[in-house]
Structures are given as structure tokens and as C-alpha cells.
Assembly symmetry: C2
Homo-oligomer: 328 residues x 2
């Protein structure tokens, strides 16, 4: 057990969350993480309809009795998915933990509160975290510059963002972006966070429902193998470096607009990467932490060994304090 304000607020054993990931956050992965004492999360919009989401939640319940959550990411869109129906499905299915992301969670809070749902809001800055605290979320999950997907436009890494958040937030919060091992968990706790969220690390596990080719690529890649795209559009995203993201970077650097790259970045192409293992089929997201990922273990092993390693790290660093210096 590694007990923090976050584990107590959410009723879990270890302060490790498998954050929502499009095409990745399905029942097997979420259940494996929760079963090991972390918090697994099913991604709502990976399911084609709210009814499919209910079935996915039921499927996870056959795999674990422990609590898991559902991610609901709400983005501005011309043809938005039926967000209200997904929200209703989550509540009706009896899920008690929701991860919100993408926009202010306020419009959902009344309904979630009514049904006893605890909300973890994912954001990328201290000011957005404070806003989420104000509207009554249970905890926040703060993404640093290291993260996969959208890090925001501030470019503040966890080393500075986490203590800055700790100085201003009252509710529990977890750190996200750049975490993949026990050294990272120990560091996050030292910096003032109550736990960590990991995406890329859980993408690269046995229960992760993506092609083995993608997992092998993550193991092989270093911290230098990501691209930041959409910077000029002020919608920056960190994605795997590949032929498609290199092309997007170049088109935008030469003054291109979103319309010029839209066909390249279509979600269906990214999905093809995960399903077919064609690494250059489209854009897919991964974080800098891939440089620290060297294997494809069961997700439960990831949880257990990170907790054990964090404990070892804290214990061994404590031993440095007041240690007798070795003879010169």
C-alpha cells in the first residue's frame, strides 16, 4: 500500500492512474490496472455508442471487483458526439469515478454530484486546476509539457508545474506526463503530488488493445522520438515522430493552415496505426517517457513494480541523509 490523500479520496490502494486514452482505454486494460490496486479508466468515446459504453463497463466488472473510472473528454466540434447520452450512460451504469478532460467540467458537476460520482479533472495549468477545484471536482490530474497528446501552450514541465500546483491547490492532485517508473512516482510525491497518471506506460502493456508493432516501437524509441504538431494553431499536440507527423510539422512550418494537414491527421488514420500496426499510417500520440520504457509487461505488474520501486527509491535516498562520508 502507498497511501496518499488521492488513494483515500478515490478508495484505491496505490496512487497510480491509467488515464483515458482513445482506442486504448478498454475493459481489459482498465480492469487489469484496477485489479492491481491502481485506478483503471475506460475511455467513453472509444465506444461507438453510449450503449456500447455500458456493455464495456459491464465487461470490466466481470474482470475486477475493484473500482475503475470512465474518461469523458469533451472537445469543441462541429458534429459533436452525444456527450449528454454518454454522461447519462456512465451514471446509469453505476460508475462512481469519472475523469473529465478537454473543457471546463462545470456543466457536468451537478449531475455527477447528484449520483455520487467523484470527478478527476485533467488539465494542463495551475489556473485551470484552480477553476476545477472551485466547481467541486474531487481531484485534478495535471499534465506537464512531457505528456502525450495536448500539453497546452504554456510548456511548463512537471518539475516546476507540480510544486507550483501543490502551493496553490487544496484538493488532492496527481501529476501526469513523463512518468513511467518508480523513480518518477517517488519524484512526483517529493514534488508535492498525491500520485501519478500514466498513459504511454500503460499503452505498452500486455492488456493494451493495440498492435504489438506499436508496443515494440515504443520500447525501441527514445525521448527524442516525438513531434510537437499544431503549435502554430495554438492547439499543440505531442505525437510519435513518424513520416506523417514530420510532414505535418513541415507543412505548418512553411505557413500551412489546418486545412492543409486535415487529411493527414484524420482520426481514422491514427486508429489504423493501432489496429494494423502500420506505424506511418497516421498520427498517434505518445509521450517523452517512451525513452524510459523498455518492456511490455502485464499492466498489473507495472502497478506493483512501480510502487515497490518508489518505496525502494525513497528508502535509499533517505539513507543519504546523515550518511557517514566514505573515506576519500
Amino acid at each position: 500500500m502507498l497511501t496518499t490523500r488521492f488513494t483515500q479520496a478515490l478508495g484505491i490502494d496505490h496512487p497510480i492512474v491509467q488515464g483515458g486514452m482513445m482506442w486504448v482505454g478498454r475493459a481489459e486494460l482498465a480492469a487489469a490496472v484496477s485489479e492491481a490496486g491502481g485506478l483503471g479508466i475506460i475511455t467513453a468515446l472509444t465506444q461507438p455508442t453510449p450503449q456500447d459504453l455500458v456493455r464495456e463497463i459491464e465487461r470490466a466488472r466481470t474482470l475486477t471487483d475493484k473500482p475503475f473510472g470512465v474518461n469523458l473528454t469533451i472537445l469543441p466540434s462541429i458534429n459533436p458526439p452525444p456527450y449528454d447520452e454518454y454522461r447519462r450512460a456512465i451514471v446509469d451504469a453505476g460508475v462512481t469515478i469519472v475523469e473529465t478532460a478537454g473543457s471546463n467540467p462545470e456543466p457536468h458537476m451537478e449531475m455527477f454530484h447528484e449520483h455520487g460520482v467523484r470527478v478527476i479533472h485533467k488539465c494542463t495549468s495551475v489556473r485551470h486546476a484552480l477553476k476545477a477545484e472551485k466547481v467541486g471536482v474531487t481531484a485534478v490530474s495535471i499534465d506537464g509539457f512531457e505528456c502525450a497528446g495536448h500539453p497546452g501552450e504554456d510548456d511548463v514541465p512537471g518539475l516546476v508545474l507540480i510544486p507550483a500546483a501543490a502551493d496553490q491547490l487544496t484538493i488532492p492532485f496527481i501529476a501526469s506526463g513523463g512518468f513511467g517508473d518508480g523513480r518518477g512516482l517517488a519524484a512526483a510525491l517529493a514534488l508535492g503530488a498525491d500520485g501519478i497518471n500514466m498513459g504511454s506506460r500503460f499503452m505498452c502493456t500486455q492488456e493494451s488493445p493495440i498492435s504489438q508493432v506499436v508496443k515494440d516501437r515504443i520500447v525501441e524509441a527514445s525521448e527524442l522520438d516525438t513531434n510537437l504538431i499544431f503549435r502554430s494553431l495554438r492547439n499543440t499536440a505531442r505525437v510519435a515522430k513518424n513520416a506523417v507527423s514530420d510532414e505535418v510539422v513541415q507543412i505548418l512550418a512553411e505557413g500551412g493552415e489546418f486545412e492543409d494537414v486535415r487529411p493527414l491527421v484524420a482520426g481514422a488514420r491514427g486508429r489504423k496505426v493501432f489496429e494494423d500496426g502500420d506505424l506511418d499510417a497516421g498520427i498517434w500520440t505518445v509521450g517523452l517517457v517512451q525513452g524510459l520504457i523498455h518492456d511490455v509487461p502485464p499492466a498489473g505488474d507495472v502497478v506493483r513494480r512501480i510502487v515497490a520501486e518508489a518505496e525502494d527509491v525513497l528508502r535509499s535516498r533517505m539513507a543519504l541523509v546523515d550518511a557517514a562520508p566514505l573515506p576519500a
Copy 2:
């Protein structure tokens, strides 16, 4: 005492280095840091001549009996300073610790080794750290994306860069960029570093020989108040956000070349900021960590309280392990 491989290799009490800083690294500051058990560093090129450097070293010796170092930053230049004469002055003055930066330290290693000088090489990537290890430096100091000045072009923050370095280096190394308090030191140790280097934190101390106006600005500023300039020139530098750096960013974003901004970035203008406290006189460097700096204490207090805080942090986080959960 906080004893690590780094403190043992350098013969100091605490793994905290005040890294070389142009116009800032003078005798009073370096001596105050060393006197408190850290490692203070005098910046060679802040002294107009090698003879002035010798006098500055002698002045520091009147202020402390403890070891301090000298920074020698070597940059490509059309009219370079007499680097060999500065190096000779360092050795002749009996200095035994040198921080190198800016380019491969190899050309200096023979002379430094001959005279028993231990070299700490500052760099911004694991591959450069490995190269420095190979040519025989005693330790390396690795700058993450968070740092003031030149972070390189890889944009890898400490959360990922430090463990990546720990996995590959054999010699002791310290982490630099984003560190300002005991939480950061504890995190650096957890991530695998043997200590920390701090610049901005020591700029903002009583012994720092710069205008009080600049120190007050650092206290007031947040982690959002820096600019990255020279990205398009592949010579990125993190500097304080002000009227001049905003203008440089804009000129280069609109396709300008270095010649278009050269008058704006002249070193003499930056020096004016530090000497006269005119915050918009020129470009001056500061790191993201300014968002965590809230006071202007004596430099020795910074060393002592960071060590004490790091010890508290490690102890309190250890207490989370196997803690009995509170009643729900």
C-alpha cells in the same frame, strides 16, 4: 550532511552547486554558497582579464576556506576571449574544481588532469554527457528544458532526462534546470541524480551582485514569464519575458535573421539590466523555476534550508508507504 557520490567526488558537504552565471558568479556569491557546504562557482569570463580572474579567486579565498570552482564557458566566436590564458590563470591560482560548458571539454582535459583539477562538464543531453564521461570529466551537470540560458534543441525536461541519464552514465551527475527548493532536490535524487545545480535561485539571494530590481522581478514573476528566443536559429535560449525578448521573438517569427535582432541582444544591454535594474534594457536569462522563488535570502540560507527541506520531504513521503489508511 547529505552525502552522495557527487559530494564525495568533489569534497563538499551538500550536493548543491551554484552554477556559473555571466555577471552573477562573483566572489561573494560563490564564497557564501561554498561556506554553507555547497559548491560556489566564479564565472571566469565575467572578469575582464585573466589577471582580474586571479584577483577574484584570491578575494573568494578571503571569504571562505572551503572549496569553490571556476566556470569556463567556451563558445564559438569571431573574436574569442583568450581562453587559454583564462585556463592557465585558473590552474596557476590553484583552483581544483572547474565547470566547463559550451563545447566539448576534451581540449582542456590534459592540462586540468596534470594539475589535479576535477572537471564538472555542463551539457544538455545524454549523448553529450556520455561523450564528456569518455574524455575523463569527474562529473556532469545536465540541463533540462526548464533551464535558464541554452537548453539545447531536444526539449527534454528533467523528469525524463534525469532517469535517462542515470540509466546510461557511470560517473556522478547533477541535474540542472527547474530546481529551487528542497522538493526539487528530493525529486532529483529520486530520479537518479547525485545532486542539483541552481542558477536562478542563487541569482535571487542577498550576495548576488545584481540590482535589487531584478531580484524583485524574479520574486514577482511566475513560471509563465520566460521566452524562448533563437529557436529558428537552432540556438535556443530561455530568457526573461520583457519588451526586448518579446520583440526578438516576433522579429524571428516573421522570418527575421540573427542580424535583424543582433543590436537587441547585445551583451552590454543585458549587463545594463543587472547593473542598473532597467528590466527592459536588454536580454537577461532566468529559468522557469522563478515561479517557485518567493524571497531574497542569504545564499547560505538557501543551501541550508534546501537540504533540510529535502530531508523532511523524503522522510514524510516514506511515511506514506505502508501507512494505515485513514477511516473513510
